[in-house]
Structures are given as structure tokens and as C-alpha cells.
Symmetry: C2
């Protein structure tokens, strides 16, 4: 993971890994069947970095904490998103993770169906946000101007008028930070979910028998 963090996923090769472990490429194959197995392990290690919801906690706060944590992890390891798509055999940390989230939902009174909806929705949003941020050509509000400025200049007058307005009058204004978009969506989703619960605003606890 350290190698991928500073050389991208492409920088992680059997040879580079061996070098950083001060051994030779083929030595790794004693401990690992093939590179895919290493990648599977990395994905599970990523899941281990994400904070789990605490069993007894208030569902909205717990889900928010988990989502925020997941996003932070995926920001720290942007290459992980591409990895997660390609692997299909879930590891233990992955399963434990899903189990914990489902547990939080269920004990907050979510029906199985609503829990499924919730899980799909939240995860899609978190991964999608991470994907979005990872594929932006800039990194943070400072470099945004460097990249977007010249790009907007290139739009010959009439093309993309809305994009142009949007860039000049909103995105390139001081104070705008794309990273802030995440919380807006997350809150909107969580509030929307709350409305689907049997006890709309509900007492502090006591929802399940």
C-alpha cells in the first residue's frame, strides 16, 4: 500500500514490491499464489482502515461517521477504488464491515428491504464520490484554479455556456472547495432515509423488540 500510495497502482509491481522488501521477485511467490492474491489482501486491508459503526449508537450519526471515514480512506488511497472494482472475492474485513453496518440498520428499526436500499444507496454514494474526486484533474482548491482557469479560456465563446458560467461564477470563486460537496449529499441522503422509517422522527431509542 505504501508503494501504491506514492507510485500509483501501476507502481506496484512484483519487482518493486520485492525491492522494497529487500528480496527478489520470485521469493514473493512462496507466500502468495499470484499478484491477484496480493491485491485481494490490499482491498481487505483498505476495509480494515474504515471505521465501523458502533453497535449501540444512533444510526444516523454512525452511518455518517462510517461514510466519512470511508471517504477519507479512499482519498488517502485513491488507487484503491480501481482495485475494488476489479476484485470480486470479498475478504473477511469486507464481510465484517457489511455485517456491522447491517447490524446498525436493523437495530435502528430498518426493515430488511429498507436496509438493502440504504446499503446500496449509501455505498454507491460513497464510492461514487471517491471515484469522482479521484478522477478530477486537480487536487484541492488551490490547483483547481490552475487547471480549470486555462480550460475555461479554451471554450470558444458560444460553446458550453452553462459550463462556462458555472466555472467562472461558482467553481473559480474563492472559498469553493469541491470536497465540501460530499457532506451536502450525505445529509440529504440520510434525511431522506429517515423519512422512510416507521417512526419518522422517532424517540431516542426503543424501536425494536
Amino acid at each position: 500500500m505504501a508503494i501504491a500510495d506514492d507510485g500509483g497502482l501501476a507502481g506496484l509491481t512484483i519487482r518493486s514490491l520485492a525491492k522494497s522488501l529487500e528480496t527478489k521477485p520470485m521469493s514473493l511467490y512462496h507466500y502468495v499464489r499470484n499478484k491477484d492474491e496480493i491485491l485481494d489482501g490490499i482491498v481487505d486491508a483498505i476495509f480494515n482502515e474504515i471505521e465501523l459503526p458502533v453497535p449501540g449508537g444512533e444510526w444516523k450519526a454512525e452511518l455518517k461517521r462510517r461514510a466519512t471515514s470511508a471517504r477519507k480512506v479512499l482519498r488517502r488511497h485513491p488507487w484503491a477504488i480501481a482495485l475494488m472494482e476489479s476484485r470480486t472475492t470479498p475478504g473477511m474485513a469486507n464481510l465484517r464491515h457489511h455485517d456491522a453496518v447491517l447490524g446498525t440498520l436493523r437495530s435502528a428499526g430498518f426493515s430488511l428491504a429498507l436496509a438493502a436500499h440504504t446499503y446500496a444507496l449509501l455505498d454507491a454514494y460513497v464510492y461514487g464520490s471517491a471515484l469522482q474526486e479521484a478522477s478530477l484533474p486537480f487536487d484541492g482548491p488551490e490547483s483547481l484554479a490552475e487547471v480549470a482557469g486555462p480550460m475555461v479560456e479554451m471554450f470558444s465563446a458560444g460553446d458550453y455556456p452553462h459550463l462556462r458560467e458555472f466555472a467562472l461564477q461558482h467553481v473559480l470563486q474563492p472559498g469553493y472547495d469541491f470536497a465540501d460537496e460530499f457532506d451536502f449529499g450525505l445529509d440529504l441522503i440520510l434525511d431522506g432515509l429517515a423519512a422512510h422509517l416507521p417512526h419518522p422522527v422517532g424517540g431516542i431509542e426503543a424501536a425494536e423488540a
Copy 2:
């Protein structure tokens, strides 16, 4: 794209592409600087397959149509998601696409800030959903049982109790189709956005001067 569709992204090599065009690898380099240029072109072609919102239409319906179309396209070309993450230079279709969506939002009365929120949220959801579906080890409700069944069996009694319940009593029940999850989230998001608009439910039109 045809090659990637039936051999995965890894199946698309300069050599395989040349063969399918009935020419030799190096001939391609007359028309294209390098493979990345081909991939950039493919990403833009993907954007071209996604339906644009119609300028005058009702915003919710238009956004829903666009989102549904995008998802369908990404389901047809699951390898495209990984591609889109890695490319950072947007093509014309990409820009045109963003411009059209922004146009729809603006003329429906969305402020620049709300349009930004909306765009980030919707796109994150659509891409995230596509990512999720692409990384599922099954494809469609039939094969779900084949994959999930044996997997659940492997959970030794006490592990992952919620996951177990969830799988056995919901996911593996007849009638469940993961693909249906998409619409739930999409509607929830769109409804949530509507609540943020100045004219909550609003007249049929006449929102912008």
C-alpha cells in the same frame, strides 16, 4: 469498444485492435499518438451514448432519464468505469454532457451552488451504483443464488449474523433483484433535491426569467 465488451478492458490491446481491424499493430500509430489517446476517445464515445436531458423538459424527469440512461450504458460497458477514473482530460462529448445537465438545472431555478451540489450528488450516485454492480460477483438475479448461496453456507454459525439473515431472508428470496435498488436511491435523491428548491413543489413551468 466491441473488443472490450467481450474480452474486458484487458482484452483490448494494440495487437487485438489491429487484428480486428485487419491490419498490423504499428499501423495504428499513424492515426493515434498512443494507446491513451484511444482510451480517451473511448471514454468520450461512452459519454456520447448517454442520453442528454432535453432543454425544455421538467427537471426531475430529465435528470431521471439521464441517470437511467447513464446507468444502462455503464452496465453495457462495465469496463468503462475503470477507464473513466484513469483519464483526466475530458473530451467534447463529456463537456457537452455537463453543459446540458447544468443548463437543465439552471433553467429549473437551481442556484449555482445548488446546481453544484446536485451535479456532484447525482453523478456520484450514478457512477457509484455502476461501480457497485460491476464489482458484484454475480450478474442478474439467477446467478445471484448460485454465488451467494454457497457463500452464506461458509459462514460458520456465529460469524456475520446480520449478513446471514440479510442474505437468507431477503437477498436470496425469489423476486429480489439488486438492479431494482437503483431507482429507490435515485428517487430519494431527486425528492430531496426538490425540497431544496425555492419553489418547493412549484408550478408546471415559469421558474426563470
